[in-house]
Symmetry: D3
Subunit: 297 residues, 6 copies
Amino acid sequence: MTTPNPPTSSPHLKVSFPHEYIAHVEISRPTKLNAFISPMWSALPPLFSHLSTDPSIRCIILSGTGSRAFTSGLDVTAASSPDSVFALANPDSSSVDPARKSSLLLRHITDIQACITAIAKCGKPVIAAVHGLCWGLGVDLITACDVRFASPGASFCVKEIDIGLAADVGTLSRLPKCVGSASWVKDVCLSARVFGAEEALQQGLVSRVSKGEGGGGAEDQKGAVVEMAMEWARGVVEKSPVAVQGTKELLDWGWDRGVEEGLRYTAVWNAGMLQTRDVREAMTAGMEKRKARFEKL
Amino acid sequence: MTTPNPPTSSPHLKVSFPHEYIAHVEISRPTKLNAFISPMWSALPPLFSHLSTDPSIRCIILSGTGSRAFTSGLDVTAASSPDSVFALANPDSSSVDPARKSSLLLRHITDIQACITAIAKCGKPVIAAVHGLCWGLGVDLITACDVRFASPGASFCVKEIDIGLAADVGTLSRLPKCVGSASWVKDVCLSARVFGAEEALQQGLVSRVSKGEGGGGAEDQKGAVVEMAMEWARGVVEKSPVAVQGTKELLDWGWDRGVEEGLRYTAVWNAGMLQTRDVREAMTAGMEKRKARFEKL
Amino acid sequence: MTTPNPPTSSPHLKVSFPHEYIAHVEISRPTKLNAFISPMWSALPPLFSHLSTDPSIRCIILSGTGSRAFTSGLDVTAASSPDSVFALANPDSSSVDPARKSSLLLRHITDIQACITAIAKCGKPVIAAVHGLCWGLGVDLITACDVRFASPGASFCVKEIDIGLAADVGTLSRLPKCVGSASWVKDVCLSARVFGAEEALQQGLVSRVSKGEGGGGAEDQKGAVVEMAMEWARGVVEKSPVAVQGTKELLDWGWDRGVEEGLRYTAVWNAGMLQTRDVREAMTAGMEKRKARFEKL
Amino acid sequence: MTTPNPPTSSPHLKVSFPHEYIAHVEISRPTKLNAFISPMWSALPPLFSHLSTDPSIRCIILSGTGSRAFTSGLDVTAASSPDSVFALANPDSSSVDPARKSSLLLRHITDIQACITAIAKCGKPVIAAVHGLCWGLGVDLITACDVRFASPGASFCVKEIDIGLAADVGTLSRLPKCVGSASWVKDVCLSARVFGAEEALQQGLVSRVSKGEGGGGAEDQKGAVVEMAMEWARGVVEKSPVAVQGTKELLDWGWDRGVEEGLRYTAVWNAGMLQTRDVREAMTAGMEKRKARFEKL
Amino acid sequence: MTTPNPPTSSPHLKVSFPHEYIAHVEISRPTKLNAFISPMWSALPPLFSHLSTDPSIRCIILSGTGSRAFTSGLDVTAASSPDSVFALANPDSSSVDPARKSSLLLRHITDIQACITAIAKCGKPVIAAVHGLCWGLGVDLITACDVRFASPGASFCVKEIDIGLAADVGTLSRLPKCVGSASWVKDVCLSARVFGAEEALQQGLVSRVSKGEGGGGAEDQKGAVVEMAMEWARGVVEKSPVAVQGTKELLDWGWDRGVEEGLRYTAVWNAGMLQTRDVREAMTAGMEKRKARFEKL
Amino acid sequence: MTTPNPPTSSPHLKVSFPHEYIAHVEISRPTKLNAFISPMWSALPPLFSHLSTDPSIRCIILSGTGSRAFTSGLDVTAASSPDSVFALANPDSSSVDPARKSSLLLRHITDIQACITAIAKCGKPVIAAVHGLCWGLGVDLITACDVRFASPGASFCVKEIDIGLAADVGTLSRLPKCVGSASWVKDVCLSARVFGAEEALQQGLVSRVSKGEGGGGAEDQKGAVVEMAMEWARGVVEKSPVAVQGTKELLDWGWDRGVEEGLRYTAVWNAGMLQTRDVREAMTAGMEKRKARFEKL
């Protein structure tokens, strides 16, 4: 149950600890605009499962390495290789009947979905700091995060339709839950058009855009959005972790369900979670105008 | 079944009738910024149950007494008293085992949730006119209303995380249904940051902000937003009550359910509700360019 | 199963083919502002069922004939005639008992709902180009479309409450799924107030407003919004129809369901749908910088 | 909306009216054990849609023609023909890519499902009188009925797995809702073993088995089960049609939903449906010890 | 929250305490076969709400007074009086339009449903000991209980259809969840036929039938089934109340929901409820072969 | 994705291959009546995940080692050790506050639930051959299987309530879906009474009981029920694996959902899965009266 060792970086997921209780995960394949190959998504579940239960972590920031891209999405060259899932799917590739191929593809897709979902299942808040390109799989990734901030030059695209397929590892299931306008969701998913940070903000996909549009280069922009995320994270990790993790859980539960269902689950959750010393500590600290200190969780 | 007597004010919920068919409920504990203590939420169900079935009422406005606050939320001092739910929840408070405490807390939370939900279950539209502070329990309250207007100086905060707990009497279940941006909901719920009327408008939490930002003091602002709500209410009470109450019911039902589910329930509802003289009266009045008059409901 | 004949226009639904793979359906009763009478909604299912399966069609544009109205909604004069559903519903109209009337009304409403739903069930994207009046039934229609664009002078109104009834053929079930702000939905549905294109855009009901507010008359405005829709449609029909139709299906499925439910259905869908030559064609064309060509579907 | 003409038999669905308010539908292809070919399922929707709304019908009995079979299921010879859906599905049949075939197959399956579902959607009770073989498609059909009686010699089989496919037109979705034992459902669906009337009764798939096991031949058995159904039907058609059709609707609605959901829908339904003269007539007739007479519906 | 006073009997609901932790509630209008009039269902919520939270009660037995009937159901004579809900529903009773009547009827039905549901919401197990007549409202009542035992001479009937209405206060929503056979449910609900204890046992509506068919009169039979319930109750009240109340809650939650939904709620529930001294006491007592003693809850 | 190595037995889960395509998994801790300790449930996911995708396996039999017990359930002695989850839960065990303990317990319970659920998620049919004791965790295990057979001497018990807790790793969520009688489920779950194979059969928990009650000892009984399961499995593995795995998947999906939801998923599933050569092979073999041979899956 416990995960005693500190989370270690994998080749394409760099992990650092810029502040007490904060982990910074960077998608890292900079020579390829952080484009995803199979080992990259496979590295997500062990890492986020660890971060989810490690009591020394209370908030996670997700960004890309380098300044040009959060991620440009799936590495299409790799996806074209003979041992890729697309080669398997190719109707002219083998004599296996389509039903059997469907079974194999179903396992493949389910596996990749589970890798992305590992972010959504993390018990601690995950904030995406989007800079540069965030295309295709990038949108799958950020819609699995809790909060999304962007640099002014960030560029988004639900790209999958352009390579002949419906996005199947998260975007089509999560994007409609992330924003309000159904017309806009279908517009960008069916046209695969690129949109920028301002549009993402206006539609609610991201909730803040960092400053610095003027003279700032890509490097500055990335710094600014990561710092904006850091500032938000520093605020969150000072709160009671019982309260923070509960708030995330209850919002996630309620998202997919009706109000009555949400209220009941909330009541059962808090019947246990109110029995914490954090409430007294928070109240007392508030009256004493000092910073509260909470035990790990 | 019927509630023959006119609704009477309780000590902390002042009720007035500023216009035919309109009730104005004011949260009233002005010396404490309308902060909530237990008798206040307990007074909601009898009042709103009455308003829900009283045929002389067609629309309800909810505001605070005084101009400084809609409500500042839970009265934290009272919540710190030895007989409060937080004292019960305190892990160091007694030798009752945590499981038994969970049972008691579950009943407590369920009871308070039901008090807030009484607003949402009211069969007539309830419009919140938000002015000054609307923190903590204030957000629980307004998300249980149908329509939300705010004065330009209104200030909102999902405050609960700051006292060590996840909001459990409505906000986490209802706020995601009230606005479109998932990122913004998690931003404000996890950071407990204060936001103003303009941000609430932009995100869709309120649908209108009253004028008067310039020289107007808090008093003027409150007057303006209540008058804006009054004007809206005056329009609604002139419509057929069969149509108004049906529209509210059908929107509420559909909110938590799929489209097919919504369409079927709507059809069954209107199979009965179209059998009203109001349709003919409304059509005739429209052609005759006169104001329609509808029987009570 | 197949529908070999080209879709033919019906008296009130004009169909044209302005571009390869694009059908343009115009609501056509111009002398009455395209107000709906019974044969008009009855013509929707056969037409949209045909378009849904005709492989020579990949995208549909819906607009009104003429420039003054998309549609002014239900033809109230016709609805007042002695053989209308409202005459049947009239409590003073006959000696049939209300329960039996309820049964008949239920069948009526269900039938009309099914006519509107035929648009939503069309397997190809349907884009509404809204110009002039879009009142009452007009909102039922456009919320059943996938994407909504409007001219700057377009005017919207959830009108039903003004004739004494709760909207029952789609708006109350679909509008809350189309936009983010619950307060705004109840505001416009309970007040029946008219709102314009800018407000519709800000709230997300439409995702784009065409240019030309200045000197352009209604005619120019309509031309502009239809052209904007045409441009969007021309982009969509160049994509793989396997990908486009899958994207629409998966978004529609996910809208009403939780994320897990959406992910699973998506995986099963794509297990079959990835077995298309379109993926290779799309990837190759992309590398070869040429336009991809996809087989019909 | 109304269906003025009396329902006419189609070549393979014989309709007779053995008693006031009762229709008897016989699956009729006696030379082939009533095995189904495409025109047979296509004939179900127009017939059952008519019966559903024809006020002179209050209950429907479904049986096979002849005594040897209710139906032996899909006609496998026809299903092997070059223009069948199985020929289309055959992976070696054409160069159309599997994704496009999936789209065509999806339409095919959806169409056939809708044909069977037409029975379930009929607003009047449908009782299956099962005699002789009831295999494959026969189980799809009877699980779409409301009540199932069987002759002692009836033989059941969820046969589809034996021809290489999962049953897809109803059995796998409806059988688990018809009986209690999950282990038994998977046993018979995965083994395709034949089971008799006694086992069907014990598991609850049928609720009565007719007498006559001893000397009676198939002909006598069929007569007995049809007469048993007739007797049940004669009882039902003497009840208030408002009450009967409401009871069917409310049970169907509740089957797939939670109790709260069922209670609310029931309340809204009866708010309209209690306004019938049938209640007074039923009560008065009961006190006067005479048979009640109810208006048509 | 707490209910300090012992539950007192109301005129038609006699409460006794035949054993530590056990309450026996008797439906009591013996001169009328315990037929229900309005004050009887209105007395259910305060009583069962009290029993639900009173720590001195761990299990409740529900039976009728006298031996002839559990309850014969709704008192039809009272229901025919001019101020009854049926008089209100009568289409010839007043000039109020049917839509307004629908609103009033909806409130009535909802109120009565809530009275019956009070039994289902009781946090302690409620066991129905059925003897003699259990018709109409009797079935609504027992399907809201947790466990059902019957005497051999008990007689059941879903009677509502015989007075011209669909059962609307529970049976149609709960009966399909209580038994496995859909065909049987529709058979008895559509035919209103009387069935006995053996059939109820075979179909799973009751889970045990008491002995004594032979010479025993009604009095003896009632005594036997109540004693059978008492014996069961005596066993239950010796278990940990944390475990008993949790088991009831989790089964109720899971009944209406999918397995995943059930597992998650169960995990959250037990995260708090495992923190009880009862586990250690139960384990230790088991090893020491002594009876465990648990604190009240 | 693929699992190339043959599944190897773990210390407490013995795996053998008694027949082509059949795996036999034996719970194996015979000196302790196969009582479960933590490594045993932890071994389930890797094993069943392997069996789920290994094309050389088409059906799995689950039994106990030895003849005295399928499993006696949780090893209570181990569960009493200081490092067990019960020690953690003990309210007197440490100074960690109950909220933090709740978090830890939630992870524990979720982990164990996932271990049991691994059986339910296996893509191939799993048949439980129950012999001897099947108590507590045993019921959790068998309700996660697809089909259940029992020896005449098998003994079942939902034991958890006797050690002071509500069953939380599957039984309370799955048992109500496995059988029809709600009253019986609550009876056995709240009383923890032991019941035998005949009662399990009558209630539908198991679908067959093996012969041999007379002189046969426990050893013979176990042999008989395992052979009965083997015979069933031998039949299943001769069917098309596309059809078998699809049938399991579609029944599982439909169990928790409404009929419409089931039909749609079924149609999408079979749109891909009908494109198999198994259909032609099955049909041809049927006509040629020979055994069909299907490719692996």
